[in-house]
């Protein structure tokens, strides 16, 4: 398994869908190759970072109008 092949298999490896023999060769390669070990670690870091990025929410005005809608909805519900 070459470095060029390893970089194509990272997600399959993380997802646990590589066949047993490929998993063994993949892990052996990572153990032997400092570059690919680094690459694998960087993919892990990328996934973690993407998962922690803070996002844009709705505007305060939109949230306010939703809270109004909630109170109306709730009042209507309790009265029916």
């Amino acid at each position: 398994m070459s470095c060029k092949e390893v970089v194509e298999l990272v997600t399959d490896y993380f997802e646990g869908v590589l066949p047993a023999e490929d998993t063994r060769r993949f892990e052996q390669h990572i153990e032997d190759c400092v570059w690919c070990a680094r690459y694998l670690e960087q993919m892990r870091l990328t996934i973690n970072t993407v998962g922690r990025i803070d996002e844009v929410s709705i505007s305060p005005a939109a949230k306010d109008s939703l809270l109004h809608a909630f109170r109306d909805w709730s009042a209507e519900r309790q009265s029916s």
């Binding site: 997802e15 690459y39 993407v50 109170r71 519900r77």
Partner: protein, 221 residues
Amino acid sequence: MPTARAMVLPDAEVVAALKRGDDAAFAELVDAYSPGLMRMAQMFVRDRAVAEEVVQETWLAVLRGIDRFEGRSSLKTWIFRILINTAKTRARREGRSIPFSAVAHDDEPSVDPDRFLGPDGRFPGGWMLGPSEWQTPEDELLQGETRDAILEAIDRLPDTQRAVITMRDVEGFPPEEVTAALGISDGNQRVLLHRARSKVRAAIEAHLGAIEPNKFALEPS
């Protein structure tokens, strides 16, 4: 990151609070999920203002439909499904094609092929220009220009790849939710996810300038 009660309380309690008219509970739910809903909505309607309308419509649909929520899926999944349906309808009305029937192209390499050695040397397919260590601590990747580079890279992704990485890695949905929501096969979502992740990694690397020649590989044999 919001640590709202909505994210730690069991769904049944959140739903009960909404039915009781607990507006603090609703506000927390809106705070907890609206950022993710905005991002998802923008996969279908790129315009921010339109996406915001879609998110608002979604919350109203959640309230109208709350009695139909049976807890067969998680509340989060149920809300996101309503969002996806609402956004698809809106995109169709605006004449925007919905890209999710597209098949993943499997011919895009994860790393520029020029960075690997050719087939004839001592290490065929080995690194010629390898990744160097990222000197930036993990927490700092989320700040300033690196953060911008990551967001830009996600924005530049083809629609399908952006959809999958958003659902899987940003929102943390399991693969089966992604395949169901987007109507793609499991293999396809994995290919799209891999392409997307590889490009975001490459964008971070490019931003950090973290590439170094593999001197060992370049020595004449």
